[in-house]
C-alpha cells in the first residue's frame, strides 16, 4: 500500500528529473553530422568492404535462404558480408537496425524494405554519409543507389493469373489474397492479376475484394474454409504471401475439393510439398532468395568500386544473366528470376 507520506517524499524527489534529463540531452548530441568515410589508401580492387544485408524479418525460411547467398558471396570474394533482420515484422524495427548500421560505419547496405516509404529518410541519411544503398523488392524507393528487382511485379502477378485461368479452364469464380493490405508488392501483383483477368480471361469472375491473411498460415486456412462455404462454386484461389498457398491448400485438401478448387500463388517448396503432391495446390512460383542476396552484394561491391551497371549486364547467376533497365528510371534493374514449380520439377528446389 502506498501511504500519503510516501507520496509526499515522491513529490519532493521530483527535483531529480531536471538534472537527469539535462544529462540525457548532453549524452546524446547529434554530434559529428558528416562522418568522413575512412580514407582508402589501397587501390579499390584490393579493399575489403563491409556490407550489411538488412531483411524484413530475421529467421524465416525465405531470409534464411537469402543468408546462404550472402555467405556464398562473402566466401567467394572475401568481403565482410553479414545479414541482419528485425525480430518482429515491423517497419519501425527495421528503421532502428539501419540507424545502428549507419553509426557502425558500414560501406554498403543491401536492404529488402518492409515498408519502402518508412525507410526513405533513414536511407537518405545513410547515403549522405557515403554509404552505398542497394535495394530489392522496392521498385518505388527513391533514396537508393540501385534497385535490383527479381522481375517486373506486374508481369509476375499477371503470369500467376494466366496459370490460374489455365487450371480453371478459363471460367468460374476465384478469390485473391494479399498478406496484408499495407504490403506494396502484394497489392501490385493482385492489381496486375485482376487487370490481366479482365483483359484476357473475361469468363472468370472474382467473388469479392482481396482478402487479407496477415501473413499467417492459420488465417489463410480459416479464410479459405469460409470462402468454400460462402461461395460453393469457387474454382480458384491466387495467393501472394508465402503462407497463403500452404494455408489454402490445407483447407482445400481437408474438404476433399482438390479436383474443383485450384490454388496457385507464391510459396516455397518446403512449405507446399505435401499440398502439391495431393493436388490441392496446383502451382507455386518464387524467386530464389539466395540468388537475390548474392546479386545485391555483388552489385554493392560494383558500385563501391565505381564500376557502372548497365543494361544487359551478366551477374553470373541464373535469372540475372541479362539485366533489363527500367525505361523510366536509370537505377532500376530487373532480372527474370521467377521459377514456376509443380509436382514435375519440385525435386530440384530442396528449400
Amino acid at each position: 500500500m502506498l501511504g500519503p507520506a510516501r507520496l509526499v517524499t515522491m513529490m519532493k524527489s521530483k527535483t531529480l528529473h531536471a538534472p537527469l534529463l539535462a544529462l540525457l540531452c548532453g549524452l546524446f548530441p547529434a554530434g559529428c553530422r558528416k562522418a568522413p568515410a575512412p580514407p582508402s589508401e589501397t587501390t579499390p580492387a584490393q579493399r575489403r568492404f563491409t556490407i550489411a544485408t538488412v531483411v524484413k524479418l530475421d529467421g524465416i525460411a525465405w531470409f534464411n535462404r537469402m543468408q546462404e547467398g550472402v555467405r556464398r558471396f562473402a566466401g567467394e570474394t572475401g568481403h565482410d558480408c553479414f545479414q541482419l533482420g528485425p525480430p518482429r515484422a515491423d517497419a519501425a524495427l527495421q528503421v532502428q537496425l539501419i540507424e545502428d548500421l549507419i553509426s557502425q560505419g558500414v560501406d554498403a547496405i543491401c536492404v529488402v524494405p518492409f515498408s519502402v516509404e518508412a525507410l526513405e529518410p533513414v536511407l537518405k541519411k545513410a547515403r549522405r554519409q557515403g554509404i552505398v544503398v542497394v535495394a530489392h523488392e522496392a521498385s518505388n524507393l527513391v533514396s537508393t543507389d540501385l534497385i535490383i528487382e527479381p522481375f517486373d511485379n506486374a508481369a509476375y502477378g499477371a503470369h500467376l493469373m494466366d496459370h490460374l485461368a489455365r487450371y480453371m479452364g478459363e471460367t468460374g469464380e476465384f478469390a485473391v489474397f494479399v498478406g496484408s493490405l499495407t504490403s506494396k508488392s502484394h497489392n501490385q501483383w493482385i492489381d496486375a492479376a485482376l487487370a490481366r483477368q479482365q483483359a484476357a480471361h473475361p469468363q472468370m469472375k472474382p467473388v469479392r475484394d482481396r482478402i487479407e491473411e496477415y501473413d499467417d498460415q492459420n488465417t489463410a486456412y480459416q479464410k479459405t474454409l469460409e470462402l468454400l462455404k460462402a461461395f460453393p462454386a469457387l474454382k480458384g484461389i491466387q495467393g501472394s504471401a508465402s503462407t497463403t498457398a500452404a494455408g489454402a491448400g490445407l483447407a482445400v485438401e481437408e474438404r476433399g475439393l482438390q479436383h474443383q478448387v485450384n490454388v496457385v500463388g507464391s510459396g516455397l517448396v518446403s512449405q507446399c510439398r505435401q499440398y502439391l503432391e495431393s493436388g490441392s495446390v496446383k502451382l507455386i512460383s518464387f524467386w530464389d532468395p539466395a540468388d537475390a542476396g548474392y546479386v545485391m552484394n555483388r552489385l554493392a561491391v560494383r558500385l563501391l568500386e565505381s564500376r557502372p551497371v548497365t543494361e544487359g549486364d551478366d551477374l553470373g547467376v541464373e535469372g540475372y544473366r541479362r539485366l533489363r533497365r527500367d525505361p523510366g528510371r536509370t537505377n532500376l534493374f530487373y532480372g527474370s528470376a521467377w521459377v514456376d514449380v509443380t509436382t514435375n520439377n519440385m525435386a530440384q528446389y530442396p528449400f
Partner: protein, 331 residues
C-alpha cells in the same frame, strides 16, 4: 513491496553497467558521438509510448490503444501535410499547415483517449477490454482511410521534427525530454497527479475520500492519447510516411519499459525517472547487440532476462535477510 526508493539507484547502476559492458564489447564503436546521436534519434518514440502506458498503469488500468492512436493521428496529419498544401505555398504558409496538421493530430489523440476514458468510466468496461477494442477500431479506421498503403511526401519543414537538431541535440530527444518533464510535473506537482496515485492504490478509498475518480480517469486516458499522438507525429516525421500498422511492436515494449522502470502494474506507483532509465537500458542493449551483429532474437531474450533480474535482485536480498536470525518482524 518490491519497489522501494532504491529502485532508481538500482536502475541507474544497471544502466551504467550495461553502457560499460557494451562499450567494452564494441571497442571504439559503441561510445562514439555518432552512435550516441543515433540512439538519441531512436528511443524517443518508444519513450513516449512508455510514458503514455505508465500513466494508465499508475491508475491501475492500461492503455493498449496507444500505438493505434498514434498511427491514426499520424495518418490524418500526414494527409493534411501531403494533400492540402498548395505547391505555391510560401514558407510561412507551409509553417501554418504544419502547425494545423500537428494540432489535428493532437486533437485526434485526445479524442481517442476521451473515447477510452468514457468507455471505462461511463460504461464500466474494464480498461484492458475497452482499449483492446479501440486498438482494433483505430487501426481499422486507419486502414479504411488509407486503403492500406503508406501516406508519404511531407514538407521538409515538418521532417525537421524527426531528423533535425537544435543546439546539437536531436529534435525527437528534445520532444521526449519536454514530454517527460511535463508528465513528471503532472505526477509530482499537481492535485491530479496525487489523485492518480490514490486511485491506483485503492479506487474505493479514493472515492470515499471525495476524489472525482471518473473525471481523473478520463483525464488520464486523454493525456495518454495526447502523448501517443505526439509519438505518432514523431514517427511520421522520422519516416516521412504514415501507415496503419507501423510500430506495432512498440506496444509490449512500452509496457516492458514502464514495468522495468518501476511502474507497479497493480497501480499506485511509478516515476518518470525510472521509466527514462529503463528506456536507456533497453536502448543500450538494442544498439549494442546490433553492433555486435548478434542474432536479433537474443535482444528479446535479454530484455526479458533484464526485467527478471531487476525484480529478482531485491526479492533475493529479502529472502537472504529473512534467513538470517534477526529481530525484524516484517513478513
Amino acid at each position: 513491496m518490491p519497489w522501494r526508493p532504491s529502485a532508481t539507484l538500482r536502475l541507474l547502476v544497471l544502466c551504467i553497467l550495461l553502457a560499460t559492458a557494451m562499450t567494452l564489447l564494441n571497442p571504439g564503436r559503441f561510445l562514439t558521438a555518432r552512435n550516441l546521436a543515433s540512439m538519441g534519434f531512436q528511443f524517443p518514440e518508444l519513450g513516449l509510448f512508455a510514458l503514455a502506458v505508465s500513466l494508465s498503469l499508475i491508475t491501475g488500468g492500461i492503455d493498449l490503444s496507444v500505438v493505434s492512436t498514434a498511427n491514426l493521428a499520424g495518418i490524418l496529419a500526414a494527409l493534411v501535410l501531403t494533400r492540402m498544401i498548395p505547391d505555391t505555398a510560401g514558407s510561412g504558409q507551409v509553417l501554418g499547415w504544419v502547425l494545423a496538421a500537428g494540432g489535428l493530430a493532437l486533437i485526434i489523440g485526445a479524442g481517442g483517449g476521451l473515447v477510452n476514458g468514457l468507455l471505462i468510466t461511463r460504461l464500466g468496461v474494464t480498461p484492458i477490454l475497452a482499449t483492446l477494442g479501440t486498438m482494433q477500431l483505430y487501426l481499422g479506421l486507419a486502414l479504411v482511410i488509407t486503403r492500406g498503403p503508406a501516406v508519404s511526401g511531407c514538407p521538409e519543414l515538418f521532417l525537421k521534427l524527426g531528423a533535425g537538431t537544435l543546439l546539437g541535440i536531436p529534435v525527437p530527444l528534445l520532444v521526449f525530454a519536454i514530454a517527460a518533464l511535463g508528465v513528471a510535473a503532472v505526477l509530482g506537482n499537481t492535485v491530479f497527479g496525487l489523485e492518480l496515485h490514490l486511485i491506483g492504490t485503492s479506487e474505493k478509498a479514493a472515492r470515499f475520500a471525495g476524489v472525482p475518480v471518473d473525471r481523473a480517469i478520463v483525464r488520464t486516458y486523454v493525456l495518454s492519447g495526447l502523448i501517443a499522438s505526439l509519438a505518432g507525429l514523431l514517427m511520421v516525421a522520422r519516416t516521412n510516411s504514415a501507415k496503419a500498422d507501423y510500430g506495432a511492436s512498440y506496444l509490449l515494449q512500452a509496457v516492458l519499459v514502464a514495468v522495468l522502470g518501476g511502474v507497479d502494474p497493480r497501480g499506485g506507483s511509478g516515476t518518470v525517472r525510472g521509466v527514462v532509465l529503463a528506456l536507456l537500458s533497453l536502448q543500450f542493449v538494442s544498439s549494442g547487440f546490433s553492433l555486435l551483429r548478434w542474432n536479433q532474437f537474443t535482444k528479446e531474450a535479454a530484455w526479458g532476462g533484464l526485467l527478471l533480474l531487476v525484480i529478482t535482485a531485491p526479492a533475493l536480498l529479502r529472502l537472504s535477510s529473512r534467513r538470517r536470525p534477526s529481530t525484524d518482524s516484517r513478513g
